[in-house]
């Protein structure tokens, strides 16, 4: 199902790419509908439902009360009854008010029913900081969602993947958590990562959930990341190139399923691994990626793997502190140079 043609040169932001994927699926399939806070006339606080209310009306683009437990639970009930809801949890930071509906209900009903009840539901939610929204509005929580079985988890780094993953998510018969990073949305007021706004075909296409992409080839080190982190890696790779080193960048795209093969192949080639993760350092994505490589005896590492992750602290408001704590290209470059000091010989 994956189409890789990028025939068009039309560039879209992730916000518009998401909205376009939803609109196309809503035109095709009357069972698809959207609900969440401010997804209607406002078009989503992060712009990802813009235009949907105007085209599909209040029945299919439903503003909800601030009742995440009820409306996500309701989405599960609707999905089990034949609908294909797309629900928005405005900030992933709010998961705590509704996690039961997400992980005990949405993620488990298929299993509990022995596969007889399907839950085709997309839960889209914004992640990430960097604009001083402080500790309850800036988290990524990738690890929190990826840890709990029964839901797929994707996090695109650019508009092409965002559209393709959204279409794939809507067509998937399973719950898919679609995590979009605010700094990539292309909403001016959140700053804009230019690299996220890329050519997007007008026609509908899917990007397969569960496949990582090698977005830059190299042979000295593997930089593995997702969403905003991919752009830090790409910038770091450029800096490293200037220094004569060649970095491979793996965009995980999907945390569940996790494409360990692509990751391991890359590290088997480069012999070095740096994981870049805006989620908290411990017990999360960075640990899992490193472990996935370490436990695989096919990878002989030339140096201990490193991670550039968010420290284990709540996210501070003051920009000085927040920016200092966030991953960035310089930290990745520094980690690489640190790594090069270690000499394990060729097969350590």
């Amino acid at each position: 199902m994956t189409t890789t043609s990028k025939s068009t040169s039309r560039k879209l932001t992730i916000a518009r790419a998401m909205a376009e994927a939803m609109a196309q699926e809503m035109r095709l399939d009357p069972r698809v509908f959207v609900m969440g806070e401010d997804v209607g006339p406002l078009g989503g606080v992060f712009g990802n439902t813009r235009g949907l209310f105007e085209e599909f009306g209040a029945e299919r683009v439903r503003d909800t009360p601030i009742s995440e437990t009820a409306f996500i639970g309701a989405a599960v009930g609707a999905a089990s009854d034949g609908m294909r809801p797309i629900v928005e949890l405005m900030f992933v930071d709010f998961f705590g008010v509704c996690m039961d509906a997400i992980y005990n209900l949405m993620a488990k009903n298929t299993y509990f029913s022995g596969g007889k009840v399907k839950v085709p539901l997309v839960l889209m939610t914004s992640t990430g900081g960097g604009y001083s929204d402080a500790g309850q509005h800036s988290q990524c929580l990738y690890g929190t969602f990826a840890h709990l079985p029964g839901m797929k988890v994707v996090a695109p780094s650019n508009a092409y993947d965002a559209k393709g993953l959204m279409t794939a998510a809507i067509r998937d018969d399973n719950p898919v958590v679609f995590m979009y990073h605010k700094s990539l949305q292309g909403m001016g007021w959140l700053g804009t990562e230019k690299g996220a706004t890329v050519p997007v075909p007008e026609e509908s296409y899917t990007v397969e959930i569960g496949k990582a992409a090698v977005v830059r080839e190299g042979h000295d080190v593997t930089l593995a990341s997702l969403a905003a982190g991919v752009h830090h890696c790409l910038r770091a790779a450029k800096i490293l190139e200037e220094g004569g080193f060649s970095a491979e960048v793996v965009d995980l795209r999907s945390l569940v399923p996790l494409d360990r093969e692509t990751l391991r192949e890359s590290v088997a080639k480069t012999g070095r691994l740096i994981v870049v993760d805006e989620d908290y350092h411990s017990y999360g994505v960075s640990g899992e990626i490193i472990a996935s490589v370490a436990e695989y005896s096919g990878c002989r590492l030339k140096a201990a793997p490193q991670r550039v992750a968010y420290p284990d602290i709540p996210i501070p408001f003051a920009p000085t502190m927040e920016q200092w704590a966030l991953p960035n290209a310089d930290k990745v470059v520094a980690a690489f140079h640190e790594m090069m000091k270690e000499n394990r010989g060729e097969n350590s």
């Binding site: 437990t69 639970g73 009930g77 209900l105 029913s113 007889k116 009840v117 839950v119």
Partner: protein, 328 residues
């Protein structure tokens, strides 16, 4: 709204079916658990929440439902499953964890899913309310008939999910009925120690929906109120809330010592056991006589025994099947 004779007998039969099922489960559950009670042992391991005494809630509501209507039930689901028409063989097999069970043994007694009759339940307090609202929304959006009923305990009426779900259903005027089985207890905590109002139907006005109350575990009282609420829902008049005074004749779960119960409560409740009471009522009005009753009870027992045999004779799935059905 008064039940027809047929409806009366249907309700009575399903009460008998459900109770006999619970009595047999109680026996079977204890196999392998004596002399030392260990929940992990015996043919039915794990927690077991029996519904003895709460049958009026199930039958009085489900008498108005078709297989097409949706029910979400609680951690104490058997009576409701029986009344909703869940496949008895597959249900009992699920309680035994067998391959022939509703979900091949992956769910067990708190996770009974029968898509054919739109039944599900869950082990988290208040978790069924949101899905019932959503199923009702689905029907409304698809223009398909169908009412959703969410059952919950009196303890569950203090969960946030209760409030959010009633509000959402009311704002969207959805065909849902919320039915509180008020057995006066949440495990060991009595209702008055956990609930700020004596009767939860009072909370309905906070959502501008009708609040109804049934006293004394009265089968036909439930039938009447549920009939009204379900008819309203079918006619597009939105949700209702019903609270039913019922009784938990057993412990919270099997193995519960029940020392927290006030002295004499259990005996008092047993004297008001709704099944002999309803039987007497039906005898009194001539809907039932001793012979037809004996026949009905025997048929019910035979049916349950067949389901139990089916479950006992079924195999377990191979252990590796644990890895399947995580994703569709």
């Amino acid at each position: 709204m008064q039940p027809t004779t047929e409806q009366r007998l249907w309700m009575y039969r399903h009460m008998v079916l459900s109770r006999y099922l619970e009595e047999r489960i109680e026996e079977l559950y204890m196999e392998g658990k004596t002399p030392v009670f260990n929940m992990a042992k015996g043919p039915i391991p794990g927690e077991m929440h029996l519904s003895n005494g709460q049958e009026p809630c199930a039958v009085g509501v489900c008498a108005h439902l078709t297989p097409d209507d949706i029910v979400t039930a609680t951690h104490r689901p058997h009576h409701i499953a029986v009344a909703k028409g869940v496949d008895l063989d597959a249900m009992v097999a699920e309680i035994f964890g067998k391959a022939t069970g509703l979900s091949g043994g992956r769910g067990g007694h708190m996770h009974l899913f029968d898509a054919a009759v739109n039944f599900s339940c869950s082990g988290i307090i208040g978790e069924g309310l949101g899905p019932a609202v959503g199923a009702a929304l689905s029907r409304k959006m698809q223009g398909k008939p169908g009412v959703a009923v969410a059952f919950l305990g009196d303890g569950a009426a203090n969960q946030g999910a209760f409030h959010e779900s009633l509000n959402l259903a009311a704002v969207w005027r959805l065909p849902v009925v919320f039915v509180i089985e008020d057995n006066g207890w949440g495990i060991s905590v009595p209702k008055q120690a956990s609930t700020a109002v004596p009767r939860n139907d009072r909370r309905a006005s906070g959502y501008d929906i009708p609040g109804m109350h049934v006293a004394d575990n009265d089968v036909e009282g439930v039938f009447a109120m549920a009939g009204e609420a379900i008819a309203r829902a079918r006619e597009g008049q939105g949700p209702s809330l019903i609270e039913i005074e019922t009784s938990r004749l057993a412990g919270h779960f099997m193995g519960d010592g029940e020392e927290y119960r006030p002295k004499g409560e259990k005996e008092r409740l047993e004297q008001r056991d709704p099944i002999p009471r309803y039987r007497q009522q039906l005898l009194d009005i001539g809907a039932l006589d001793e012979t037809s009753d004996a026949e009905l009870v025997e048929r019910a027992q035979t049916r349950i025994e067949a389901a139990i045999r089916f479950a006992q004779q079924s195999e377990f799935l191979p252990p590796e099947a644990a890895l399947e059905e995580v994703f569709a």
